[in-house]
């Protein structure tokens, strides 16, 4: 009898435990089990409404009934029928002396309340007089293991330029820095030929990344030469040997060498080294290499044995920007003339001769001549084809337009322009969109 009573007590205890656990262990509602992420839907709806700045305009024109009616129509049209909303715009105050930070300005809704569960997102909008600042992507920053590449601008004070009539190398260097430095992780001005010698020997000037850099020669048809490279074999064949070395270094460091105008490597320049020689046109501090310079450079980049062979260039006359370049003019906001005169275009035959690939045509090819293109040297390593060294040559007539230099490089690397998030003190308003679901739980 006693055992039966005990069992009955156990039953009562277990029943009590079950009832208690059932009471406290409340299962979620079906909508909690599989919820619609109303917060994200709200945020993306605000972004969509502001894609044409309509939300911003309405937020700063709260008295304009038409704007707000249109906003409500757009909001209602874009949300699913079972979603109810409340959109409120707040003015952002400068919180001083305990004053309210946000003040409600205008509100629209399609329901008296938003049910038992809702979610909201806020979006800061700015008035139309806020400055818009695009943010360029740094070239190479997404490359594997790379935090961006370096731009070297040859701004050597002990060198002269040729075919840069109306400018000097230093003024061009400054303009190029202004145009291109936003797109590069580091921009380094190479101030002397000695500094050029330093980087040619593989030593960075200021801790920058040497490998994969872009080197722009602002001296036109002349190329600065460090005094350390004045002897043999660099002085061979009127310093074509030095041009050969440059080609080898471009290959070794995977540089992209940029010639802004004319026949590349036609002269070498160092005002101390060539203080008593001139380029045959009366410009001292310069020595004429002539046509072998370009050929030697290309032999160097292709790791071919050095020869004293000459190069050729063509004169196709008026040439037009390629479609790709015209498109990128709009993208980067650089607008040189779409047609130029080319008198030093490189032959297309160099592609096969030196294992080059034209990765970007800045100008349309004319009868076998490339007025302006970015070439990449193609190599095969372990069965994989890749680029090792690059050369951007603009074979145009003087005077140079450095916008074309910038455009070609940007066309080739194609860094993105990110739209900035715009914030401005005292000109921002906060739009809060709260969403709920109609129907049962």
């Amino acid at each position: 009898m006693m055992r039966t009573v005990e069992v009955l007590m156990v039953i009562i205890i277990l029943t009590g435990a079950f009832m208690a656990s059932t009471y406290f262990a409340v299962l979620p509602w079906p909508r909690q089990v599989s919820p619609l992420d109303l917060g994200r839907l709200s945020l993306t709806t605000l972004e969509t409404l502001n894609s044409g700045n309509a939300l911003s305009e309405a937020a700063f024109d709260t008295g304009n009934a038409t704007d707000w009616e249109n906003l409500q129509v757009a909001l209602s049209a874009s949300l699913p029928p079972n979603v109810i909303y409340n959109l409120t715009v707040y003015n952002v105050n400068s919180a001083q002396g305990g004053s309210t930070l946000y003040t409600s300005q205008q509100s629209i809704s399609n329901a008296a309340n938003l049910g038992i569960s809702s979610d909201a997102a806020s979006y800061l909008v700015s008035s139309s007089n806020v400055t818009f600042n695009p943010t360029p992507q740094k070239i190479g920053e997404t490359a594997s293991g790379g935090g961006g590449i370096t731009l070297y601008i040859l701004n050597c004070s002990d060198s002269n330029g040729w075919w840069i009539t109306g400018y000097n190398a230093q003024s061009l260097a400054g303009d190029l820095e202004n145009l291109l430095s936003p797109y590069f992780a580091r921009t380094v001005m190479v101030q002397t030929t000695a500094q050029l010698g330093t980087i040619l020997n593989g030593t960075p000037l200021d801790g920058e990344t040497l490998q994969n850099a872009v080197v722009i020669n602002t001296c036109g048809e002349a190329v600065p030469i460090p005094t350390a490279f004045s002897g043999s074999p660099y002085s061979n064949n009127g310093y074509a040997g030095y041009c050969y070395l440059l080609g080898q270094k471009v290959n070794q460091y995977n540089w992209t060498w940029t010639s802004i105008v004319g026949w590349p490597f036609y002269y070498v320049t160092n005002t101390a080294l060539f203080s008593n020689s001139q380029n045959s046109w009366g410009i001292y501090g310069m020595n004429m290499v002539g046509p072998p310079g370009l050929n030697a450079f290309l032999e160097g980049i292709d790791n071919q044995p050095y020869t004293s062979a000459s190069s050729t260039t063509g004169s196709p006359g008026v040439v037009n920007l390629s479609n790709e370049a015209v498109t990128d003019c709009n993208y980067y906001g650089i607008y040189p003339s779409t047609y130029q005169t080319s008198t030093r275009a490189l032959p297309t035959s160099i592609l096969a001769q030196f294992h080059l690939t034209a990765t970007t045509y800045v100008f349309n090819t004319v009868n076998g001549w490339n007025p302006g293109a970015v070439y990449r040297h193609t190599v095969t390593v372990n069965g994989k084809t890749q680029y090792q060294g690059g050369f951007y040559a603009l074979g145009l007539a003087r005077t140079p337009d450095i916008r074309l230099t910038a455009l070609g490089l940007l066309c080739d690397y194609h860094p993105r322009i990110y739209s900035s998030d715009f914030n401005s003190y005292d000109t921002s308003r906060l739009a809060v969109l709260q969403l709920g679901l109609v129907g049962g739980t």
């Binding site: 055992r3 039966t4 005990e6 069992v7 009955l8 156990v10 039953i11 277990l14 029943t15 079950f18 656990s21 059932t22 262990a25 299962l27 979620p28 909690q32 089990v33 599989s34 919820p35 619609l36 992420d37 994200r40 839907l41 993306t44 709806t45 972004e47 969509t48 409404l49 502001n50 894609s51 044409g52 700045n53 309509a54 939300l55 309405a58 009616e69 249109n70 906003l71 129509v73 757009a74 209602s76 049209a77 874009s78 949300l79 699913p80 029928p81 079972n82 979603v83 479609n323 790709e324 498109t327 993105r416 322009i417 990110y418 739209s419």
Partner: protein
């Protein structure tokens, strides 16, 4: 003895009761996990351009999956990445005159078709692997325009007129601005002439029901050959609708996006599709490419030399006859419009969106959620080009749901 039996019976009863509650809770927990994963995956797809980021404009297989436009940082999707997704719906079409021979055909209303190379499409199983959910989840990604724009030719013809109706997901698009474009075709009357076209742009305003009537008093010929495109826009929400006259020829010209890498489009004679007709039927064509400007007017874009905004030629059925191909701009979404004629009185017009959003084509990519026992869904508002879409991800677990042994 009795007490032991009662005790055991009570234990068994309570085990059953608790098991039911616990089982339900565990299933709920699993469903909630699926829902959370659904939201995460949707953001992962929409806020990531994939790798390489330009995979939508090439023929390479991506190493990670995402459809965000690489030029943007928010919910702006690439119209070209979406073109490379193997459509859940759509027929396979065989065309043996190009290096790719199988194409997925997607249509969305009268007068427009999109055929993309099946070999270059990213299929569902690959996407599952790239997302890291192969064997655990299945999904369907649907992109539907926020605004449905229906265009119908008015009965009172001539003059040519159209009724335009714009409806949002939950509300008529009342008071929306409508920018429209009529491409009216004139057939060549001599052997040397090709079909020509004239573009008429205009604007109108939708009424409170989101509808508008548009009449072209100058187009009075009976049975005109035309294509009509309407953009409705209000406060950042843009919808696109279109229609075209039914072709009066058989065969017709069908544009085919034959290679996503080179952006080339082949103009096929419909008799060559699925080898459905005889050889030797020529059609003269005239091609133009239009893009939408900031004020939603359509503007022609040169495909050839500066002096020729359109390209003309002849496409003849038969394997031995050449395939005309044209190259489209690599990164400019627009609409390819092909007018064609068989004779001085028989012709037609067909459109092809270059980028999914140009003609507000919907996208359905992935498996079939209707056959699943439990499907979690989530929504986002996204932009593709200028067009507002609703992105919906349906996600389900491919593993059995429940608690084994209970």
């Amino acid at each position: 003895m009795v007490s032991i039996i009662i005790f055991l019976a009570a234990i068994l009863l309570f085990i059953g009761l608790f098991t039911n509650t616990i089982n339900t809770a565990i299933v709920y927990e699993q469903h909630q996990g699926t829902a959370t994963r659904c939201s995460d995956l949707l953001d992962s797809m929409l806020l990531n351009p994939g790798s390489p980021s330009s995979w939508g404009q090439s023929d390479v297989a991506p190493s990670s999956f995402g459809v965000q436009d690489p030029e943007f940082t928010e919910y702006q999707l690439s119209a070209f990445s979406l073109m490379r997704l193997a459509a859940s719906t759509g027929d396979l079409v065989e065309y043996d005159k190009t290096s790719n021979t199988l194409y997925t055909s997607v249509t969305n209303g009268a007068g427009a078709v999109l055929l993309t190379p099946n070999a270059q499409a990213l299929n569902y199983s690959t996407a599952l692997q790239l997302l890291g959910i192969n064997g655990t989840y299945g999904f369907q990604l649907s992109l539907t325009p926020d605004v449905t724009v229906t265009v119908k030719q008015a009965d009172s013809n001539p003059p040519l007129g159209f009724s335009v109706s714009a409806t949002g997901a939950g509300f008529p698009f009342a008071g929306a601005s409508i920018s429209y474009c009529l491409i009216i075709v004139t057939l060549g009357q001599t052997q040397a002439q090709y079909p020509s076209y004239k573009i008429l742009n205009g604007t109108a305003l939708a009424n409170q029901q989101g509808a508008a009537s548009i009449v072209f008093p100058t187009v009075t010929q009976p049975n005109p050959i035309y294509a009509f495109i309407a953009y409705t826009h209000l406060d950042g929400i843009v919808g696109v609708g279109y229609t075209a006259s039914a072709p009066t020829t058989d065969p017709t010209v069908v544009p085919i996006a034959q290679d996503m890498k080179t952006d080339s489009v082949a103009l096929a004679n419909s008799y060559d599709l699925n080898n459905s007709g005889s050889a030797g039927y020529p059609l003269k064509y005239n091609v133009t490419f239009v893009i939408s400007t900031q004020d939603y007017q359509l503007s022609e874009l040169s495909l050839g030399s500066a002096s020729s905004p359109g390209l003309v030629g002849t496409v003849t059925s038969g394997v031995s006859n050449p395939v005309p191909t044209i190259s489209l701009p690599a990164s400019a979404p627009g609409i390819l419009i092909v007018t064609y004629q068989q004779s001085a009185t028989l012709g037609g017009v067909v459109m092809m969106p270059w980028g999914m959003s140009s003609l507000a084509f919907p996208v359905n990519f992935g498996g079939d959620p209707s056959r699943q026992s439990w499907v979690a869904t989530d929504l986002r508002q996204v932009m593709i080009g200028d067009v507002a879409y609703q992105a919906k991800l349906s996600l389900w677990s491919t593993k059995p749901i429940g608690v084994t042994g209970l």
